[in-house]
Symmetry: D2
Subunit: 341 residues, 4 copies
């Protein structure tokens, strides 16, 4: 059985495991105020090109989204997101549990765009009754999106310009950020993101870490006492150094990008084969997630030998499945998979 | 200037004002445990044909919606509603403030239907990841809807049947219930509603009262200590008897239906004229709200002499406006309005 | 049976009922943006000596407390209050429902004091772990307190000075404010309150209105879009003018103070008799609430002829009861009560 | 510098690190539905003597407390706890963020007792106004407490009996459970806890794991879809197997108790020396936490060579400090520390 269900099937990159073991019996203060977290912060600031950035380490994606969103919104404000945004679909109401509505706007392949964002905002504030409605208080996007698609630098800057016009902070969910940065045809770098977004996170869980997300506020001072909001969310890890060690390792010698690039290369080999064999893509693959459309019986047959995610029903009754590569995908597993297709 | 902006422009029906004045200096206990509330409860139970119903009196609609919904849902559950439902649009996030997501489903003229509800529920629970998503925990509908449209008895029963299959309580928002019950072509009565819904409310604010909504649980015991949840929502009126007196008056000698019927007759006169003069309806009028589509300049011109609500932009750029009649609309005001059209 | 259970047993002052009736069939816009609300706002601003104050009209006390507190606090902040504060005891968790902890500090006869407040704040911020705790974000006090006691001007200014040092907004719950302003030995006026507090409310429900509380922000701009937070709390009355008419009447020709003074005079007559007859006061009466300690059997006997509130068990097993006068208390009812004591 | 600040200074027990490394490149499904979690569940069920128990794995203590409490309470209910309970002091409002009040009752050395619990509950429900107050909906205790003290079996059973009488679930916070089970004079075992409590958790973070808390519902079915509530709280770890592997290791060959016992032995050596040298205990030590009272200057001097937690100011102005041993404390570190005392 080959497993391509997701990009978080394995543990951590071996260098991380080594460093966790090597430091295991050291004693450090808790709650991310230790030398390893500071070391990781410095490296991340440098990689983002913003030496004064405020960096926080949280454990998982849903937790990070709800903590950041609660930190930025006032009670009557909501977060604008693609209908398909993770916060709108797969977080069991974590955002609403904080009292905030997700305000869905249309998307294309998981991406929002500046024009529809502006149109929504114009319409909203033109409504005489807008004070009786949930006010847009920030904008959320994911890069790569839940469909593995990518924003271009221009698209991102255009969205940021709209946010700027309406004084809305822009939040980028980077749960799979590595796979976006390492993609073959992207003009977006960490520096791009740091200069256009008000807050974003660098995903560790899906990109080489056991767990962990690094939240970056490129321009500090936006949120007061973020650490208290994280604590309130149960998001402050007691042995915080585990996060520092992991992110420090990922941001040493370009490891984060290097292992992300591997996942992309594996995905591209897979994409090429799928194309050659005439498989139909649900969405043109750009990163490490490949969505293909299969007749139900074919999906079932393939499912006996290959693990994948059943994504949704296509509107013609066929099944959309997702195959995901990761930093840990082995060349020979791709070979085997290709043999089975 | 004629005013047709809404159905809550005036105070209360004169009989209510009289009775409030007549009882003004009486002393009663607070918080809806007084003889007038009990009197109103008995009359409402009788009108609903369910002698054991549990009846609570709250002040306003948004408050009632959020209190009832919080009372019924578990933390990870949301409330299924039409995209256009009041709770999804015009309550400034009151539902989300209670920690719950509104789960919008498609609508036709403000109405959900049994088929799309069932389809949504089937799809939801077929998703392997449903425990990571906000679970549908109840169904909300408004009758009349925000567009003044009405369910038929069959439609309501079909929706109730789906709810029953999925063990979801059905909640009917009756902020304008009188205008629904008094409509010309409806087969829905208070008894119908009481026998199909798990909880609903009889709107007073828009139908003859100064304020007030009577929440009815036809089969008691569904919610424990509803009064505490109301108190927590700031929805328990100190001088609760004001609600009892108003609803007791409304449910004496059929006043509630009688004054509602007047609004319908006024709306029908208006509709007839609008039809004759070739106005285009945005939605076929069924109750006391009339939505018409006007070119922007015409809307502006009319707006100088008639107060109405600007509802939304039509997709062709014209303006959708709403004219509302009410229990208080005077024959001569309709005459004047007709002259201006 | 004589009734002294509370100060909200009757309806409204007759002048209010008259004006509500006189304006009943007028048409006004909803949600407190009408001429009567504006009229009331102007009168309140004048009475407070702050022409630029921001004034909002809400329906009840619990609702007002939770709305104001949610408007002022960030997620990890709580509200400092006397252990006996209404928000800590009798609001069914309305403050916690908004996500905020009530941080109780010691009190004397229901009053907090500047020294213990400062001591609490010093201790709090001296704790290394304070970011892991609920941070004090504002201070709440009630005037008169839940025990009918009053702050002096100096006491209030001292508390405000501490709040100022720690940059904490000071919120005064004036559910019974009239009875405090009209007390015999007070040096606190509306102007005093407006110049020392950041937000307070003028209680209507217990002082002559059918319902209603006027929230005053003496220096506007502290809270953005308060109206949206009120709407979210279900606290925005559709027929908002009912509040405007009531408060405009209460603030015409000094009615608010005049009727409050009546309650004080009634309470003072009652106090004098109780003293003469040797009743033991639980707390020295200052306003319209009289707390006396009775043996259980005596309380029971009195309870057959007089309605009162059972307040708490005294620590010696006797019962503490409360007798309340109000704007509506009749001279002859006091006579009758005195005869029964 | 010697470090005795807390029991979570180091990483994990070496056997855990070994097993994490050994399984690192295996592929498993996420979110705690993997073979390692199942293995850990079976071992925990066995250790608790309840084969049908429902076991969930969460990441940290605050998160676990807020998730369990939200899962058990209705909106208007609160959680009864010692004034000193962790949920009331050091969770930055995580419980209130879920909408629930912590209802503090008196404690002795961090412990609540059956008599004062019963007295509180009797008083609460005797109050006529109890529906206007936050209702006690469950009882929380920690074992060991925040002061390192322990309940006896009888004390725990008596509390459980009160809970049973009032139909309140009893929740035991076992963040340091191992150190309680391994204490020298305790008659409480895992089986005792499983038979008296409705839900409890076995702390991993402070007892040998990198992180992780195992929530046990001895009698399943109390909470529906706990996993969704955990997800909503951001408490569901993507690579859930990390928790399974850790708890499986801790519950193999009695490791959990064995390493806990080591901490107790180290604490007892330390206690003996402190006694001999005449140090004054703030609280008689029972587990791995030792609280001593020091003059400020002595605390400062000691602090130059030994890391400890400053706990609170003693009421005589001296400082209460905490020294904590753990599974990882080395014999020689105790020797060194003893030399410094």
């Amino acid at each position: 059985m080959q497993h391509f269900e997701s990009d978080y099937l394995e543990g951590a990159h071996p260098l991380i495991m080594e460093r966790l073991s090597a430091t295991n019996m050291e004693k450090t203060p808790g709650y991310t105020v230790d030398v390893y977290c500071d070391e990781a912060r410095r490296k991340i600031c440098k990689a983002c090109g913003c030496p004064d950035a405020e960096v926080h380490f949280l454990v998982g994606g849903t937790q990070t989204n709800s903590t950041v969103i609660d930190a930025l919104l006032r009670p009557y404000e909501g977060v604008v997101a693609a209908q398909t945004g993770h916060i709108n679909q797969h977080e069991a109401g974590a955002i609403e549990a904080g009292g905030h509505k997700v305000l869905p706007i249309p998307h294309e392949e998981g991406k929002i765009n500046a024009a529809s964002l502006r149109s929504y905002l114009e319409g909203f504030f033109a409504d005489e009754a807008y004070t009786h409605m949930v006010n847009p208080g920030m904008v959320y996007l994911s890069h790569p999106t839940e469909y593995g698609t990518l924003y271009t630098r221009t698209e991102l800057e255009d969205i940021a310009a709209v946010c700027h016009d309406y004084k809305l902070p822009l939040f980028l969910d980077g749960a799979r950020l590595g796979y976006g940065l390492a993609a073959s045809n992207t003009d977006i770098t960490l520096e791009t993101i740091a200069s256009t977004c008000d807050v974003f996170y660098i995903g560790g869980t899906k990109v080489g870490a056991l767990f962990g997300e690094a939240v970056v506020f490129p321009r500090p001072g936006i949120v007061k006492q973020f650490v208290s909001i994280a604590k309130q969310h149960g998001a402050l890890l007691a042995k915080g150094r585990l996060l520092g060690i992991q992110f420090s390792t990922l941001f040493t010698d370009g490891l984060y990008l290097k292992i992300s690039r591997h996942a992309i290369l594996m995905a591209e080999r897979l994409r090429k084969t799928l194309e050659e064999k005439g498989y139909e893509f649900f969405i043109r693959p750009q990163t490490n997630q490949l969505f293909i459309v299969l007749p139900a019986e074919k999906a079932e047959k393939l499912g006996r030998e290959v693990g994948f995610s059943v994504w949704e029903k296509h509107n013609d009754g066929r099944t959309v499945i997702r195959l995901a590569t990761s930093w840990a995908t082995k060349e020979e597993d791709i070979d085997t998979l290709i043999g089975l297709l």
